[in-house]
């Protein structure tokens, strides 16, 4: 049973990263390979604000989130918008280039060691049926779910959120109806960066942050988004949680060295049976 608790903890982080992927995918049609780097930067930012500048958490966290919005928007303007004659594959590659730059900056600015911050809430081990969960893990789960819910409200209720969905349905039509598609794109990156930074903030006290972290985090988030079905909001959340639980499950029943192989095997199996992921919708192809 322990694997379910740990699976949900790591899974809720994958879910946040997967949401970041989905938001960008829905507005631009590309996969942002730098999404994992946003998580890394989130951890680094909160470390800097808390441990170096000694700010209290209630000031540091909003500052980090603000910075995230700024970084995301800047990211879009510098890397995505400037590409000449863009196509899908070029945009994906530019995000790879960007992820290398961000990783390099992370190393130069914050060094090579893993960094850690003190827990935001008192450490407590919660005894649950056939397993345990720490108070910090619980915080991760709660924050992730709250973030996901408020984001879904934003998309459903606010007019800006509706503009996002219009962009997803049909970019050209949205443009004609007065939606500023370019602005929406920039905002999509800002929100994706925000999600990454939230993930970075909540995980750093538990599992530290290192400048190389982004690669694996990004990969897992991508896997989660695909598993759930690209572009599907709750699919991303479900994909993240499932991936986390799979990993925990395989680590606890198989020789643990093979756990990643099995997690990916499951993803392959899902793709073969459902080529658009578990909750992915088939978008009508234009012929």
């Amino acid at each position: 049973m322990q694997f379910i608790y740990s699976g949900i903890t790591s899974g809720s982080i994958f879910a946040l990263v997967a949401l970041g992927f989905n938001i960008i995918y829905n507005t631009t049609g590309i996969i942002n390979f730098a999404q994992g780097e946003f998580v890394m930067i989130g951890g680094m930012l909160i470390y800097t604000l808390l441990s170096i500048y000694g700010l209290p958490f209630l000031i540091a966290a909003p500052l980090a989130l603000l910075a995230a919005l700024f970084i995301g928007a800047l990211f879009e303007r510098v890397f995505i918008k400037s590409v000449r004659s863009p196509n899908e594959i070029k945009l994906i590659t530019i995000t790879i280039a960007a992820s290398i730059i961000l990783r390099g900056l992370g190393m130069v600015i914050w060094g090579r060691n893993s960094l850690s911050v003190d827990a935001y809430i008192p450490y407590k081990v919660l005894e649950l049926p056939a397993g345990t969960l720490t108070s910090n893990s619980l915080l991760v789960i709660i924050v992730s779910l709250v973030t996901a819910f408020s984001l879904s409200l934003f998309f459903k209720r606010s007019s800006l959120g509706k503009a996002f969905r219009a962009c997803y349905d049909d970019k050209i039509a949205a443009g004609i109806c007065g939606v500023d598609v370019s602005k929406i794109r920039m905002l999509a990156f800002a929100i994706a960066a925000l999600l990454g930074v939230i993930a970075g903030i909540v995980t750093t006290p538990i599992s530290y942050v290192t400048y190389t972290d982004g690669i694996m985090t990004g990969l897992k988030g991508f896997a989660a988004a695909i598993l759930g079905g690209l572009g599907s909001f709750w699919g991303g959340v479900a994909g993240g949680l499932l991936l986390g639980i799979f990993e925990g499950f395989f680590a606890s029943v198989l020789p643990s060295g093979y756990k990643d192989a099995f997690a990916f095997l499951i993803i392959l199996a899902v793709l073969f049976l459902r080529p658009k992921g578990l909750f992915g919708k088939k978008k009508a192809e234009r012929l």
């Binding site: 694997f3 790591s10 190393m107 090579r112 850690s116 599992s207 606890s252 643990s256 060295g257």
Partner: protein, 373 residues
């Protein structure tokens, strides 16, 4: 005019006369192993600077050529050839990782260039390659030290959890191989990846086997997570780590969970706790103080490996000169010398020269290292 030409001529002639010792170095300064490679690099740069300040080795200045292997075999291979063929170095210190060293082991012989590796695997010196030395202790010795310790405590049920990288793999091999010899029973054999963020699944499996001790073999932040998760699950088995975590950084990361962890390590970490007349004390404290003053960060045993490797190299040049064969035979006949990792006794058949005594058992207590006698 003639005079001027003469001077110019003299200068041109003088350049080759003004000889220098060319030292190559390969460290994993970036990439996943960079927290090992960086202190090695810093240590070496510091030592070269010091030596040059005091007139160099055997009257010649040392010129350092240092490249980043990024922790990759192919990179190590390319950069080694670069050092040998382009920079024409007399010897090479490094690489950081065992895999990278093994990738260039044969090349060292081919290009007749002495290599002083900073990686631990015993496969680096076994089978013996005339040109390859290594300064860190072998995993065999660390494992022997741990098993001895457990044996003395009367414990025999051991669970192991090892990293899926060269370091963890090498440790795991030794742990499994030596278990019988020391009467240990391996009740669980789990693994984790350096990038894993949660080890509770593996540890739950371990806890079901109810071991006397859990031995974790890894480097970097992952072992700190193992420590944290062990505490979270409330496992009361003794937690033993490898020398791979012998840096202050580990205690910082693991926080309270580090309390009570036992590990074998070189004496560097407990230099101050050694008795005044201990033969290691002076060497260790000098290195430690110099490093910490210069880089404003706490010393780690990894940097010490570069220190020891440099000492071998320095001795080789002083006594043997730049000719590879002579340098090697000088190092082979170096006799006992005190390094940061322990007392070396390099011979023609043993290019590491350390034994189990290089390790002491430490316990983490109140956020600091404590010597176990």
């Amino acid at each position: 005019m003639k005079k001027l030409l003469g001077v110019v001529f003299m200068i041109i002639l003088a350049v080759p006369l003004y000889a220098e010792v060319r030292l190559g170095a390969l460290f994993a300064v970036t990439g996943p192993a960079s927290f090992l490679g960086l202190p090695e690099k810093q240590t070496l740069e510091m030592l070269v600077e010091e030596v040059n300040k005091t007139g160099g080795i055997a009257g010649e200045k040392v010129k350092l050529f240092l490249y980043d292997t990024k922790g990759l075999d192919t990179e190590a291979r390319k950069k080694f050839i670069r050092l040998v063929k382009k920079d024409k170095v007399d010897a090479v210190i490094g690489p950081t990782r065992s895999g990278s060293t093994l990738a260039i082991k044969e090349l060292a012989e081919k290009y007749k260039t002495p290599l002083f590796s900073c990686a631990a695997s015993k496969r680096i010196v076994q089978p013996l390659n005339k040109y390859v030395f290594k300064s860190p202790q072998s995993d065999t010795h660390a494992v022997g030290k741990i098993y001895n310790f457990l044996h003395k405590k009367g414990k025999s049920k051991v669970a192991i959890i090892t990293a899926q990288n060269g370091f963890g793999d090498s440790g795991r091999t030794e742990l499994l191989e030596l278990a019988d010899e020391y009467g240990m029973e391996i009740v669980a054999d789990e693994k984790f990846r350096d990038t894993d963020k949660d080890m509770t699944s593996q540890l739950t499996k371990i806890s079901e086997t109810n071991p006397d001790a859990i031995i974790c073999w890894g480097v970097g932040p992952a072992p700190a997570l193992v420590a944290k998760n062990t505490r979270q699950l409330g496992l009361d088995s003794m937690l033993i780590m490898s020398h791979g975590v012998a840096s202050k950084k580990f205690i910082e990361l693991a926080g309270n969970a580090a309390e009570g962890i036992i590990l074998p390590a070189g004496r560097l970490l407990v230099a101050e706790q050694l008795e005044k007349d201990n033969k290691f004390r002076e060497v260790l404290i000098n290195y430690k103080n110099a490093y910490e003053k210069r880089y404003d960060s706490s010393v780690s045993t990894f940097g010490g490996h570069a220190y020891d490797a440099f000492m071998m190299f320095k001795y080789g040049i002083e006594k043997g000169g730049k000719k590879p064969a002579a340098m090697i035979s000088a190092v082979e006949n170096m006799g006992a010398f005190i390094g940061t990792a322990g007392k070396f006794n390099i011979t023609a058949s043993d290019h590491n020269g350390l034994d189990e005594s290089a390790f002491v058992m430490l316990k983490i207590h109140n956020g600091d290292w404590e010597l176990i006698n």
